[in-house]
């Protein structure tokens, strides 16, 4: 099958009513939680995991992906109108977006954010279509040593790219992996750390952990500091950017898309870092860098394009290798596994309907989002007026019901609350939850790959050094570890972004 027949096939899958509806529900819920502060895409996607039991695998993945890129759209709305990033990935959008709103240009800012996301989303889908098949071919030659080396590289990247202390990030990754060993041993199925209980034999659930770390703890932090919502009182008129806006935004948007996509492929990057780099890059390239932060439309278009393109890029390691490069993809990975589908090099061949269906659904989802976001923007703004005092009990209640409905076991609520408290403390003590969750999810794969490698090599770690692909990954890992020289220019660029203004 060449690309276009494949894509046409994908569209035929997506346009089936059930899948189309799943796509709509996904992007709708995504926009909703993107607008609402205090609940993000990761918590929402894990909340929806139990819902997907009732759906086909294709519809589930389409819906989950929709929530994620829908949230990216919705997050920018709050950044622009109230200077509160609905999602971390739209922090940068606050800088110029909010200033534009204050100058009465909220309409074009919202419009450009939506168009930028749409264009970047479309470009990244093209990227996936072009890159995934050849990568899949390469990935088919991977054995346990290659997988282990790749995971090692992934963890190294994740910890080195985490904001704040690297040592703390390493500690959290190890802790996550350690917690992941609770339950049955993946190879011999003997119980570990279960203390004779049946509840622990299944291990700790991913859903309660994620809901706790990303849902409950977020609400706790908001309750503590109090959320002040002040919707900018302005009539939003004329969402369409002017011809001048387009002229100024075209190149930044293109650069943001390419940058976001390429960075998104790398493990540990996520959607946040590309927005910062893209903003910094535009400021570097601009003839009037001093005017950034005063309402420049480039400062909205570029990072919004970058965060959407990064989403597309992040799908590549998941779809071709079965490895989750960030927490969002980890949830998506578990959605696959719930349906007994193993994402990876065999996905395109064994489940073409999922692969191409999801790819095509991203085009259609992007169109839906454009329709949802532009004319309905007034509705989303109204949502922002719901006081947090009413919102937070509801969010907490939904988390509890969601977790309970998945297993019917009160123990999972307790686990969720425990991790909620832990997550709250982690933020207070400046520990990042992301490496922990990622390691928790990938721990089993890591263990299997190293133990199988040792079995193959009869106990010699040399196997990691005698196979060219594995050795290459290890070499890159080493390079990442010893080369802060490569990272520091990027850091310096990041530092030039006046973060404090985003608060």
């Amino acid at each position: 099958m060449d690309l276009f027949t494949s894509l046409a096939y994908g569209f035929s899958v997506t346009l089936a009513p059930a899948n189309l509806f799943a796509c709509f529900v996904g992007v709708f819920v995504g926009t909703l939680i993107g607008v609402l502060p205090g609940i993000g895409p990761v918590a929402t996607m894990s909340l929806l995991l139990p819902v997907t039991y009732a759906l086909s695998p294709t519809a589930s993945i389409i819906m989950m992906a929709g929530v994620y890129y829908g949230a990216m759209y919705g997050g920018s709305t709050t950044s622009i109108l109230v200077n509160i990033p609905g999602e971390a990935a739209s922090v940068v959008t606050c800088l110029d977006g909010y200033q534009m709103a204050r100058q009465g240009r909220a309409g074009p800012a919202l419009g450009m954010a939506a168009f930028g996301s749409f264009i970047a989303g479309t470009l990244s889908v093209l990227g996936i279509m072009l890159l995934a098949p050849p990568l899949t071919k390469a990935a088919l030659r991977f054995g346990p040593p290659e997988i282990f080396a790749l995971l090692l590289l992934g963890f190294t990247m994740v910890t080195y790219l985490t904001a704040g202390s690297k040592l703390k990030a390493v500690a959290m990754a190890l802790l996550g992996m350690l917690l992941g060993t609770i339950g049955l041993d993946p190879i011999t199925a003997s119980p570990r750390f279960t203390y004779g209980t049946l509840t622990l034999a299944d291990g700790l659930g991913l859903v309660p952990i994620i809901m706790g770390l990303f849902g409950i703890s977020e609400v706790l932090l908001n309750i503590e500091k109090g959320v002040e919502q002040e919707v900018f009182e302005t009539r939003i008129k004329g969402l369409l950017p002017t011809r001048d806006d387009w002229k100024r935004s075209a190149a930044p948007m293109a650069r943001g898309s390419v940058l976001g996509f390429l960075l998104g492929i790398l493990p540990g990057i996520g959607a946040i870092i590309p927005t910062f780099i893209s903003y910094a890059l535009e400021r570097r390239l601009s003839k009037t860098p001093e005017r950034f932060g005063t309402g420049m439309i480039e400062g909205v278009a570029a990072p919004e394009a970058a965060n959407n393109a990064a989403t597309g890029g992040a799908m590549i390691p998941l779809l071709t290798l079965g490895i989750a490069p960030n927490v969002v993809m980890a949830v998506l990975l578990s959605a696959f596994l719930i349906h007994g589908v193993q994402p990876g090099p065999l996905l395109i061949r064994e489940h073409p309907e999922i692969f191409w269906g999801v790819v095509a659904s991203m085009y259609i989802g992007n169109v839906m989002l454009l329709i949802l976001n532009l004319p309905l923007i007034g509705l989303w703004v109204q949502l922002l007026r719901v006081p947090y005092g009413i919102l937070f009990p509801l969010i907490l209640l939904f988390c509890v019901i969601g977790v309970y409905s998945e297993s019917g076991n009160v123990w999972d609520i307790v686990v969720m609350l425990g991790f909620g408290g832990l997550g709250y403390l982690m933020r207070k003590f400046e520990f990042e939850p992301a490496p922990m969750v990622l390691a928790f999810v990938l721990g089993r794969m890591t263990e299997e790959s190293i133990r199988q490698s040792l079995l193959i090599s009869r106990g010699s770690f040399e196997i990691l050094l005698t196979r060219p692909i594995a050795t290459t990954f290890l070499a890159i890992t080493l390079a990442v570890m010893v080369a802060p020289l490569v990272v520091s220019p990027v850091r310096r660029m990041l530092r030039t972004v006046p973060l404090e203004e985003a608060d």
Partner: protein, 151 residues
């Protein structure tokens, strides 16, 4: 900052050492055929080492400035109240039932944590608990415990 980091590192180290003792109870196997204890033991050892590193680093940090104001204390009380309320809720959910427990939880949130007027709190709790019950139990068919109200 120093004391906070010190405390956090000490807790992590304690957990690491605990995990180490627990992992020793599992069969390690050999490097040729690693057993169930192989990976956890390596992880626990690495985790303890990194925690030790954090501890040493915190010790070498200059002593930080004293902080914590009364505003912090009020916020923290709210956090503890929310988490505590939810924990009690989780424990009584099955014996008491979803409707009653949820009503009580919301009433607690609205009165103790927010000081809403009593009729707002009462009405809000009632409407929300009944509405979520109808949506999740009746419409979506989620199995929520009936508890005391099972008739």
């Amino acid at each position: 900052m120093r004391r906070r980091d010190l405390g956090a590192a000490a807790v992590l180290l304690a957990f690491g050492l605990f995990a180490l003792t627990q992992a020793r109870g599992l069969r390690f196997g050999t490097v040729v055929a690693p057993g169930p204890g192989f990976f956890p033991l390596c992880l626990a050892a690495a985790f303890s080492l990194v925690s030790l590193g954090l501890l040493v680093r915190a010790l070498r940090m200059p002593a930080g400035e004293a902080r914590a104001s009364s505003a912090d204390a009020a916020g923290r009380a709210k956090v503890v109240g929310t988490l505590g309320g939810l924990m009690v809720y989780a424990l009584v959910l099955e014996p008491v039932g979803f409707l009653l427990a949820t009503f009580a939880l919301l009433l607690f949130f609205f009165t103790a944590l927010q000081r809403q007027r009593w009729f707002v709190a009462l009405g809000g709790s009632l409407v929300t608990s009944v509405a979520t019950y109808l949506v999740f139990k009746v419409w979506l068919g989620v199995n929520l415990p009936a508890g005391l109200l099972s008739f």
